[in-house]
């Protein structure tokens, strides 16, 4: 599959209707986001780190 085909599948799975005319631009932006996303997952965070808000007295 090329990127455009992958995006079609992904959008369908996510229940989104994305005009094929936008696929190339969306794919480019998604690639940029996923590149940034790699910085979030590696190295892994300690298991006890959680984002829930904590209330203190």
């Amino acid at each position: 599959m090329n990127e455009e085909e992958k995006l079609t599948v992904l959008a369908k799975l996510a229940g989104l209707n994305i005009d094929p005319a936008y696929h190339l631009g969306v794919a480019m932006q998604l690639r940029a986001l996923l590149t940034q996303g790699e910085l979030l997952t590696s190295p892994p965070l300690a298991a006890e780190i959680e984002p829930a808000p904590a209330y203190h007295p």
């Binding site: 995006l7 992904l10 959008a11 996510a14 989104l16 209707n17 994305i18 005009d19 936008y22 631009g25 969306v26 794919a27 480019m28 932006q29 998604l30 940029a32 986001l33 996923l34 940034q36 996303g37 910085l39 979030l40 997952t41 965070l45 780190i49 959680e50 984002p51």
Partner: protein, 468 residues
């Protein structure tokens, strides 16, 4: 006549309010002066999306009536200001820089912050241009056109509050109110050579403003001096129940702190990511501020790059979520640069969004540890000076990267954890560039006091645009 001459030389918030309260000049004279200036200069700059001449003159007359009756119209008496087009103005549809919002109902009331500014005597003259839905750093809006930098009309004013910043730099208004989700006050303040304040997350209520990313959106202001920023902030701060994120904190006036120019701060220069992603002009600006504040420590926050990535990812996901319905029903009406990023945000794995929030938590702990050792932190506000409009790439750290998403590399990590920051315009030749003065949560007073000290020492000063 002398006062009107001073006005042309852009007297500023405190000077105008003082003159009006003393009856030395009328609010109507000031507003008319600024409306004339807008008529003359705005066609080239495109700062405004709508101008409220009648409403402004009516409000100015009300201020003058109070003065004549011996009443005090407030600390911002007769001061002309503009507001980013994502604040509600009663009777008007809040566009947020889009055409999609035109289908929304007109606002029933002014945003709460506008109500507070009006109560303090300030006079709203118009709404100001922005990136669509605040998603951008250049104010190159596909629907309303680009806002031009008053220092060089071929260059960007920064964004997303570009119209608001350019308006203050060109003297069309004496302050402006904007929003900052990832740097949308600090980036345009840097490019336009003016002062900008992004207070602590939760400090200013967002009631009556159009959201972008709920847990990153801040309101803030632009002005031509630190004292002006403090006067505006003091007039508009305070809790409001209608914004669930607004902190239950008492009003903490900052203006008194600015008069203590001899106070010293333990200041550290942010290194690592914050050094590497700035160019030589940014380094020189930071060095000038560091020297004046006696900053000898350099501090590296090793999670800064990951915090920036977290802000980048969270913004796309949250923005996509906010606009999901419109993206499905009328995607063709979005600015293409906004639409593609929001749609991509909707396709992000949930795993990454959760990971971004976890990084945020750890980065917050890291930066709070830094504040146990230092009072203030400083870093360049932008990786470079204002790029040309339409410029597709900028060079950062030896690499050519897309210009539009990367103007906020130095601002994003810091707003990700909601810290109060004042951007100061460093005195230099050539295009302006700003430095961020970062304070611990709720210490807007410290950042503003440091900015005032730098101003008193001639290190920072608003760059008055020659072209105006």
């Amino acid at each position: 006549m002398i006062l009107l001459d001073r006005l042309e030389r852009l007297a500023g918030v405190c000077a105008i309010a003082t003159a009006v309260r003393r009856g030395e000049i009328t609010a109507v004279e000031i507003i008319q002066n600024r409306l004339d200036r807008i008529e003359r200069l705005n066609p080239a700059l495109n700062c405004f999306t709508q101008i409220f001449a009648d409403r402004a003159l009516e409000m100015a007359r009300a201020v003058d009536v109070m003065v004549q009756a011996g009443q005090d119209p407030g600390p911002l008496a007769g001061v002309p200001f503009g507001v980013k087009d994502n604040y509600d103005v009663a009777g008007r549809v809040t566009s947020a820089g889009s055409i999609i919002n035109r289908r929304r109902a007109a606002a029933k009331a002014d945003a709460i912050i506008l109500q507070r500014a009006a109560k303090a005597g300030a006079v709203l003259v118009g709404t100001q241009n922005m990136d669509e839905f605040a998603y951008g750093f250049t104010t190159e809006n596909a629907h309303y056109g680009p806002t031009r930098n008053p220092h060089d009309h071929d260059r960007s004013a920064g964004g997303s509050s570009g119209g608001s910043a350019a308006s203050v730099a060109a003297g069309l208004t004496d302050f402006s109110l904007g929003t900052d989700t990832n740097g949308s006050i600090r980036v345009p303040a840097s490019f336009c050579g003016i002062f900008g304040l992004k207070p602590t997350f939760g400090r200013l209520p967002r009631t009556g403003t159009f959201p972008f990313v709920h847990d990153l959106d801040h309101l803030g202001s632009f002005a031509r001096s630190a004292a002006d920023l403090a006067a505006i902030y003091d007039a508009i701060q305070g809790h409001d129940d209608h914004d669930v994120a607004c902190a239950q904190r008492a009003i903490q006036p900052t203006s008194p702190a600015l008069r203590k120019l001899d106070q010293s701060f333990d200041v550290a220069v942010l290194g690592g990511w914050f050094h590497d992603m700035a160019d030589e002009q940014g380094h020189a600006a930071v060095a000038a501020v560091a020297s004046a504040l006696g900053a000898t420590h350099r501090l590296t926050l090793d999670l800064a790059e990951r915090a920036r990535a977290g802000a980048f990812v969270l913004t796309a996901a949250s923005g996509g979520n906010l606009h999901r319905e419109a993206l499905q029903a009328q995607a063709q009406d979005f600015d293409p640069a906004t639409r593609d990023r929001l749609l991509a945000g909707l396709l992000l794995p949930a795993d990454l969004v959760l990971q971004a929030q976890r990084i945020r938590q750890v980065f917050r702990e890291q930066i709070m540890a830094a504040f146990r050792k230092h009072d203030l932190l400083i870093a360049a506000a932008t990786p470079c000076t204002a790029p040309l409009l339409g410029q597709s790439t900028i060079r950062i750290n030896g690499q050519d990267v897309p210009a539009r998403p990367n103007m906020g590399v130095l601002t994003q990590p810091l707003s990700f954890v909601g810290l109060p920051i004042v951007t100061v315009p460093v005195v230099r030749t050539g295009l302006p560039i700003g430095v961020q003065i970062v304070a611990p949560p709720w210490r807007e007073d410290a950042a503003l006091a440091a900015a005032a000290r730098l101003e008193a020492e001639g290190i920072v000063q608003t760059a008055v645009a020659d072209a105006c």
